[in-house]
């Protein structure tokens, strides 16, 4: 796969990456890529042993609907991993559809509170939430440093 990256001003650099560079070539055939809307996930997406949600709940227009529904698409004893920066996209998610990050009954109600409230109906939390950093490169001299909060949930039987 080939891509360009912004260096500075109009200057760009050229990159080429192969699955072989990562020892992944032999697994390529097991992966399918599909377009889908998690706020309105069509029925064919089901029977998963693992659902890994990578910084997607903060980008979809109805995250609560997704969080309440996803257990139905998962197998017995399966694992749900939610990674999020809780950076709720204001132009996409109406304020009443946010999971947390506001005052509720006069008190702070964090995204962690909101996630826990919804998900613990269907899942058991495995251990503690953890923070994992990642870097988004704007150009050669500008990077955004994020911390995702990651929670691992086991589906109740």
């Amino acid at each position: 796969m080939r891509y360009t990256l912004k260096e500075e001003g109009n200057l760009i650099s050229y990159h080429e990456k192969h699955l072989t560079d990562f020892g992944l070539a032999e697994f390529a055939g097991k992966v399918d890529f599909l377009q889908g809307d998690i706020s309105n996930l069509i029925a064919k997406f089901k029977n998963y042993d693992l659902v890994l949600v990578e910084n997607a709940i903060e980008q979809t227009y109805d995250p609560i609907k997704f969080l309440k529904m996803i257990h139905k698409r998962m197998n017995k004893n399966s694992t749900l991993i939610i990674a999020s920066t809780y950076n709720w996209k204001e132009n996409i998610i109406e304020s009443e559809k946010r999971v947390g990050g506001f005052r509720k009954d006069g008190e702070s109600f964090t995204s962690l509170d909101g996630l826990t409230e919804i998900l613990s109906k269907y899942f058991l939390l495995e251990g503690q939430q953890i923070d994992i950093p990642f870097i988004y490169r704007e150009n050669a001299r500008m990077f955004k440093h994020y911390f995702s909060q990651v929670m691992i949930w086991r589906k109740k039987s």
Binding site: H18, A28, D32, L52, R137
Partner: protein
């Protein structure tokens, strides 16, 4: 000066001998350009715009000299400029993307004498550098002599492209000199026929330590299995092409691609660019003369005309005909056992200026069964240029190829009578817009195999490329790859017997999904944005999974 030269073996040889060889190659190249400009009638001719879409020739007279200095300064081999004003004015040609992209900018070009004296200064500077720079063998991409070779080979490309511009000047603006005398053989065109070419595998691309100079796009590796096909014995001659004109081909939209028809309508083209209709008689423009129509020489057309001809002939004959792809051209080359330029005693075809300064009859140079597999005129292919797996840009010339990786520039192969140096080698890869005129014609092939256009162009979407870097780029600030970290975490928390199917939501350009596939039987990567998924899908292209294609050029 020496008219016939060979490009230099940069991998082996004694350094001091090599220095002499390069010095001679340099002076011969510089002389060759000056010989070419001797065909201009007078100083005024330099300032005429031979083609409304290009700079006048004065630009090219200065450009190749300026190129040496600009690249050597960029490489920090030279620390002083010779003439900053010239080195800016003559730096960039016109990047014509469309046939109506008129070059209207106004330039205050210096007089010819000023450019000539600048050229002399450059000649002395390069002469001194070649004599004084430390030379170690082999000469690879990072060696200062690579930059010298870059300048030499660049000037040789422009000898060819300028010769096309000279051919476009009014006849009385040029003079026919002995050095550039054209071929005087002409006659009746032989009947063309289709000859079988057996199936076989071809290997495209050069390894990094290939013995001769190459442009970035030549490196890398691609293997293609070619199904047997039939190839026309000769390049299409002027006479064979006449039948298309007589069949009113230039007025039948059905034979033209949409791009071709639009070009034809814009240009009001009725016949090839260098044909001249004088009353009821056809004449022909060589670089510097007008001659009777050489019916048995190859026709010179752009891709769009060549394509229309093939479509017409297919209909006429009921046979599936088209231009060969790049890989199919390699197949022709392989089965003809042609030595590459530095190894031949005498050119096996009309190439490298080893014969006359024009095309010659299509039945003059035979290679096994076929004629003109190399030389005479370039051969249009049906293939837009793209990068081979393993491609890298040369850091000192990063816009040689990459702007042409857009499916709008088609490759020409084989070289012409005036292709010298790198241009006349097997692996040379030049690509032009499809409406562009060079000394180029074509041969057709019969095959039922469709042309598959390149798909592995560069991802350039500004909202996608940062994710390409996040997923597949190097780790930054000591922070391990996020996608791999997440996937490893998931693999730690799932048990062996429950790893049937994983769903990776927000999978973007795919790293997490591939990492999960190490242990899961099946992984579905899901994203809201299709544009993000393209890169992940591209990763599954077999060229990026094939271990053998992964030989980095450094």
């Amino acid at each position: 000066m020496q008219r016939v030269t060979k490009t230099i073996n940069l991998q082996s040889g004694d350094p001091e001998e090599k220095r002499k060889e390069i010095l001679m190659y340099f002076h011969n190249s510089f002389d060759l350009e000056e010989k070419l400009f001797e065909t201009l009638r007078g100083d005024d001719s330099y300032f005429l715009r031979a083609d409304p879409l290009r700079h006048p020739l004065i630009f090219y007279f200065g450009h190749t000299a300026v190129f040496y200095i600009n690249k050597l300064v960029l490489a920090r081999i030279l620390d002083k400029r010779i003439d900053p004003k010239f080195e800016s004015m003559f730096a960039v040609g016109v990047d014509e993307m469309s046939w109506d992209d008129l070059n209207k900018a106004h330039y205050d070009w210096p007089i010819v004498e000023a450019v000539r004296s600048y050229r002399n200064k450059v000649r002395n500077t390069i002469d001194r550098l070649i004599k004084q720079l430390p030379l170690t063998m082999p000469i690879g991409w990072g060696n200062p002599f690579w930059i010298i070779m870059m300048g030499i080979e660049h000037s040789r490309i422009h000898v060819e492209t300028s010769s096309v511009l000279i051919r476009q000047l009014p006849r009385d603006e040029v003079v026919q000199t002995d050095f550039w005398d054209y071929c005087h053989e002409q006659g009746i065109s032989p009947e063309n026929e289709l000859l079988p070419v057996p199936s076989g595998q071809v290997k495209l691309g050069k390894v990094k330590d290939h013995s001769i100079y190459g442009w970035d796009c030549e490196y890398g590796s691609r293997k293609v299995n070619i199904k047997g096909f039939n190839a026309s014995k000769f390049l299409v001659s002027n006479h064979e092409f006449l039948k298309f004109i007589e069949a009113n081909g230039y007025h039948k939209k059905e034979f033209w691609t949409e791009e071709g028809w639009n070009w034809k309508e814009f240009q009001q083209a009725e016949f090839p660019r260098f044909w001249i209709k004088e009353e009821e008689c056809w004449k022909f423009r060589t670089m510097a003369s007008i001659v009777n129509m050489p019916w048995n020489w190859p026709v010179e057309v752009n891709y769009l005309e060549a394509k229309a001809f093939c479509n017409w002939l297919s209909k006429e004959t009921g046979i599936n005909l088209r231009l060969p792809t790049e890989a199919e051209w390699y197949r022709l080359h392989d089965q003809s056992n042609i030595p590459d330029q530095p190894e031949w005693e005498k050119a096996p075809g009309n190439i490298n200026l080893e014969y006359k300064a024009s095309p010659c009859p299509v039945d003059k140079f035979k290679f096994d069964d076929l004629y003109d597999v190399i030389g005479n005129v370039w051969q249009w292919t049906d293939m837009p240029i793209d990068a081979f797996p393993g491609f890298d840009v040369h850091p000192l010339y990063d816009d040689f190829s990459t702007p042409t990786f857009d499916n709008r520039h088609n490759l020409i192969k084989g070289g012409s009578w005036i292709s010298t140096g790198n241009e006349s080698t097997k692996h040379a890869r030049y690509a032009f817009r499809r409406h562009f005129y060079q000394h180029a014609g074509f041969r057709y092939i019969e095959t039922d195999q469709p042309v598959i256009l390149p798909e592995n162009l560069y991802e350039e979407e500004p909202d996608v490329t940062p994710y390409c870097d996040m997923h597949w780029g190097e780790d930054k600030f000591g922070i391990p790859n996020y996608q791999k970290t997440l996937a490893d975490l998931a693999l730690n928390f799932t048990e062996k017997n429950s790893r049937q199917h994983a769903l990776s939501i927000g999978c973007k350009v795919g790293r997490t999904a591939f990492e999960l596939a190490r242990k899961f039987n099946k992984v579905t990567g899901l994203d809201f944005t299709v544009r993000h998924l393209k890169a992940g899908v591209a990763m599954q292209n077999k060229e990026y999974c094939d271990i053998l294609s992964r030989k980095k050029v450094t």
